[in-house]
Amino acid sequence: MNFLSPLHPPLQLCLSSTLGGGRMHLPKEGEIVIPEMGFQISSPSMEKKPWIFKTIVDERDGILGMSLNLGKEVKEVKSFVGGGNKRMAGSLAGFLVLILAISICEAASIFQPISDSHRSAALDLFKPADGSFGSLEETYEALRTFEILGINKKPDVSTATCGTVSKALGSSSSTPKDLFDALRVNSILKCNINAEVFEGIISRLQAAVSGASSLLDFYYSVGSLGLIKDQTSKADLHLSDAEGIFRSIKALSQSDGRWRYSSNNPESSTFAAGIALEALARVVSLASSEVDQSMIGTVKNDILKLFDSIEKYDDGAFYFDEKVVNVPEHPGPLATSSSVVRGLTAFTTVATGSLNLPVDKILGLAKFFLGIGIPGDAKDFFNQIDSLACLESNSVSIPLILSLPSTVVSLTKKENLMVKVNTVLGSKAPPLTVKLVRAYSTSSKDTSIIENKELSFDPERVVYFLDALPDSVDVGSYIFVFKVVLHDSEHKDVYVTGTLTHVQIFMTGLVKIGNAEIAVLDNDLGSIETQRKLDLAGENAVSLSANHLQKLRLSFQLTTPCGSAFKPHQAFLKLRHETKVEHVFLMRNSGKKFEITLDFLGLVEKLFYLSGKYDIQLTVGDAVMENSLLSDIGYVELDLPEAPEKAPRPPPQVVDPYSRYGPKAEISHIFRAPEKRPPQELSLTFSGLILLPFIGFLIGLLRLGVNLKNFPTSSVPAAFAILFHVGIAAVLLLYVLFWLKLDLFTTLKTLSFLGVFLMFVGHRILSHLASASSKLKSA
């Protein structure tokens, strides 16, 4: 358990995101668990991350708050638990775990260029299976990423992939997209493809271009032709009607700079704009003669309009997003921005003349791609790296990124503040000077501690550093404002550096802990009974004893290296009884002095009248305090009165705090015990007895001389009589079935049919009998 270690430098924050384009997500496992007073960071990827946290305990309201501050100037995350529960507030055990679903803002203005962590991530993400990367598109993405990142140890897939490429190129059933992907892979792998194969494809593609109607048709066929031209050094490969094709692609554009996929699709898309720009660039490069400048001018105008719709994050990152969300396969901000950047770079390479794009938006796009960190998805990774490569080589303006290897400077070790300036892919920047415009404390924004200082350059490590901090710089957090000035005035047109970069820097140092003492006081007079000096930096083993009429006082002073008062984020006193019941008290300060007086008379109830030995533990911690401590001071033997009957009981203590989150005890269901049933013989006997009255009934009938003489003799009434009895029997049988297996609905349905039948035949036979008897009477 690592308690507030300032040696753990709050550095840059590059969290990998599994969501394409989303920049502000923790990795899935990035949950932070805070057991008791310490920190446990459960995510391996979080372990190297900086963290600063602040706990707020309010004993009156019983609110525990925690703000977690990851990295630099950041959004504070507050989470409150146990509101209104006084006991919870008293005991930090009440918030053993705080899982913060944090959405962290990327370090406000610090973006790290692509580094070796990206290279190792690329090798992890693009892993060939069975000698290939899957489809040709995926293969291209993998190979292109390796090429940009300059990875030499890449897996060798050329044999298998070249086979797939030549198969795709040789097949007559390949679509323009297949050809395009195959040619893209071939542009990297340079497989040995027969010249005749290309001839065949060229004629097919030329036909496809002239017959194309949708944007993607143009993109793939024109793109394939362009790739063939690059790969075969065929100088005479031209589009027959370049201007016509240019016009038909341009005809799909919208007034706001976005493009439609086809003329019968009214939805316009930013993603399509990127594709269209790329296709137009290919058309221009394939044109046999110069394309009309006015048409290129209108496309440039479209690009400027497209950049008006760019969106912005608070930290200076710019990105494109699709406005229409209900499109199937909505590309997301990363893919959209990536598409636009590719299109923009391709078009500006072929188009002559300047394009007055706002440079801060180019830099903002670079920040957007860098701000993603390391994407967890291969497609996102490719989009990020490819776009950054486009930005690095574009002809409009190349972004330069200012980054800091460490945003923590230890005053004790006399560390220098170092700054790096690189291009987005981490290569060397042109000669330049980094100036520290001003630096100010986060608590007092108006007073600068340093102003207008030029940083020295270390050519060996390629870093700019601030040699000496003024003595007035104390521990704490500061905002440093940097400015990059290019030496060469020619470079000022090529590179874009941004105006000012604000960086939060933590100055850490040793905080002097002095005049630490612990004393037992008499309640009424306040006279000191026992007093011990403490050396909080070393070991202490104080043994005190007190009763409920006395007080315990603990006090110490905190002084920064510059001699001013220091207020740490955390200052807690913890009393732990032998039975593991814990009580946490917040230390309050007045100036330099921290003091707490525990009046046991008022605390007896809170201490649950538990007499005996209490261990005393003191916590003083802060992110900028290099000697944060969690020290056991000793113990106090308390003699408290007997608990009255109605006193609250101490809460049951959890042996292992983590067991609370373990599996719960299995719940076994108890069913009601079955009723006692009578012996079977008895039941059977009575079932037999039931027959006795029936037999008696039959005997009685015989003795009465019952006969069936009244049964109708003529055939029709006889048939109705039989049907009547059969009907009654059927209804009774239905009832038996209802009892045994049928449900009420089926029974009622059947009964309604049987009932109607029974009514009919019953009516017929009974009216027949009635008429017969009335005839008899009258006769």
Binding site: L682, S683, P693, L704, V706, F738, L766, S774
Partner: protein, 115 residues
């Protein structure tokens, strides 16, 4: 005195029997049927007294089936009896149809309740 009482009782029973012999045989059948139903109910009650009333719904439906049948049979007897001037206009066939219908409805409920 005692002798005269038993004699009186004998005379009473004798007159009752001679009067009953004159009852039409159809009514006698109904009486027999009522007796059969009541005895069946009594046997069930005795059974319950032995073993307890655990499947109480079954016991109730069994007894009520018998009692209900007996009551319906008594109703039939009242309607069929020619001495009852009140039902003089009602043909016995109509009364029998009512009896059958009521029995079917009663037993539908009984079966539902039997469990």
């Amino acid at each position: 005195m005692a002798r005269s009482t038993s004699k009186d009782a004998q005379a009473l029973f004798h007159s009752l029997r001679s009067a009953y012999v004159a009852t039409p045989s159809s009514l006698k059948i109904i009486d027999l049927y009522v007796g059969f139903a009541v005895f069946t109910a009594i046997i069930q009650v005795v059974y319950m007294a032995f073993v307890g009333s655990f499947p109480f719904n079954s016991f109730l439906s069994g007894v009520l089936s018998c009692v209900g049948t007996a009551v319906l049979a008594v109703c039939l007897r009242i309607q069929v009896n020619k001495e009852n001037k009140e039902f003089k206009d009602l043909p016995p066939e109509r009364a029998f149809a009512d009896f059958v219908l009521c029995n079917l409805v009663l037993h539908l409920v009984i079966m539902n309740f039997l469990g």
